[in-house]
Symmetry: C2
Subunit: 194 residues, 2 copies
DNA sequence: CGTCTATTTGAATGTACTCAAAAGCGGTGG
DNA sequence: CCACCGCTTTTGAGTACATTCAAATAGACG
């Protein structure tokens, strides 16, 4: 608890007044394990910053298969930005996988903050910019790397994900089946021995 | 020529003064067929808005295979945002496929515009936000759809791409080989007859 | 008309998936 | 402390989607 303001201050310097305005436009909320922050077909009304806990963002395809789009842990933002910005039904679900505390900024408050505190618009431009660059990297990797190499890269870049989320979710995040990830790990273990 | 200001004004309303500042911070530039706007390993110094022409953004993997990350036609922005924001060497190449006229905003000018004309920061937040949502959609589709369905969706959503870019580039953009796309098209043609 | 590039065709191969079943693991209650 | 339950991971066989390589064909341009 209270990772939020320090996080914001990593990007910009807020005056006491600005900080007060920001404080007035956020809400703290707690979720239990299994609860949904965003639900498919409902409008995503806020963007959520994780103070503690962990969540997964997933999507159900037309055959009913789950695909994990993103993980969220402490100091990550989660939500369905597509739904948030157009205030139309969400494609994604955001579900808590343990007791999770978040800071939420509702759509209307976010618009007001953009208007009254231009620095906040700066922060969100930066956050989205980074998210966009990551998304592009992921597209490129899904193109040009095998499942095995994508797994190795995830291990290297986000070991926390591999540690904190069950293997079948890691598989889904990588775009492969849990069985295939199991095979890959088996093979990697054999190689490590020799 | 002169799609740029109307495009900006679709997002926001600039005062004459602001418009003048914007004008003072952009440059027009022409490229010939085959020339590069951004080159791998060089720092991307500006973001480019296409007035006319067409470009492809691609990436060379470690085996030397090309992967097309994006197409650009009139009224699209192109560049390597990852490189631009960190002023570090680019991963991507942006190459003109015909005579192409662009409006360019250099890194330093962009920072100045963000500082002096907050509305410009708004525009870029919106542009990047939309780009991010599109990138996420692409990730989801590459997960959950077959090559055939991805091709059909591209035909539906961006027919201009399929018309204006050669088939082997479309294949690369979809993440498949040109031979396989040829097969898919062949099969679709057969189905259309019966 | 010839040359260069883009597209098509086909056969063999590979990467990853599906389905079914077994094994492992953690918590709960007897 | 052990037995049982539910959930996650592993194993294996058969299959599907997409690739590779080689060669033929079609199109575009001078």
């Amino acid at each position: 608890m209270d990772r939020f303001l320090p996080y914001i201050n990593k990007h910009i310097q807020l005056t006491p007044t600005e900080e007060a305005i920001l404080q007035a436009n956020i809400k703290y909320k707690n979720y239990l394990k299994g609860q949904y922050i965003v639900q498919n077909d409902e409008i995503c009304r806020c963007h959520s910053f994780i103070e503690s806990g962990k969540v997964r963002t997933f999507y159900l395809d037309k055959n009913g298969n789950e695909h994990i789009v993103a993980f969220g842990i402490e100091e990550w933002w989660v939500g369905d930005i597509g739904s948030l910005i157009t205030q139309s039904p969400a494609d994604f679900n955001v579900q808590c996988l343990e007791k999770t505390q978040v800071v939420q900024i509702y759509y209307e408050n976010l618009q007001r903050l953009y208007r009254d505190v231009p620095k906040i618009e700066r922060v969100f431009r930066l956050i989205i910019q980074n998210a966009y660059v990551s998304a592009q990297k992921r597209i490129v990797r899904n193109f040009s790397l095998t499942a095995r190499d994508r797994y190795l890269l995830l291990l290297e870049e986000y070991p926390a994900f591999v540690q904190r989320f069950p293997q079948y979710m890691i598989a889904s995040y990588l775009g492969i089946t849990k069985e295939f990830l199991s095979q890959i790990r088996n093979q990697l273990a054999k190689e490590a021995k020799s």
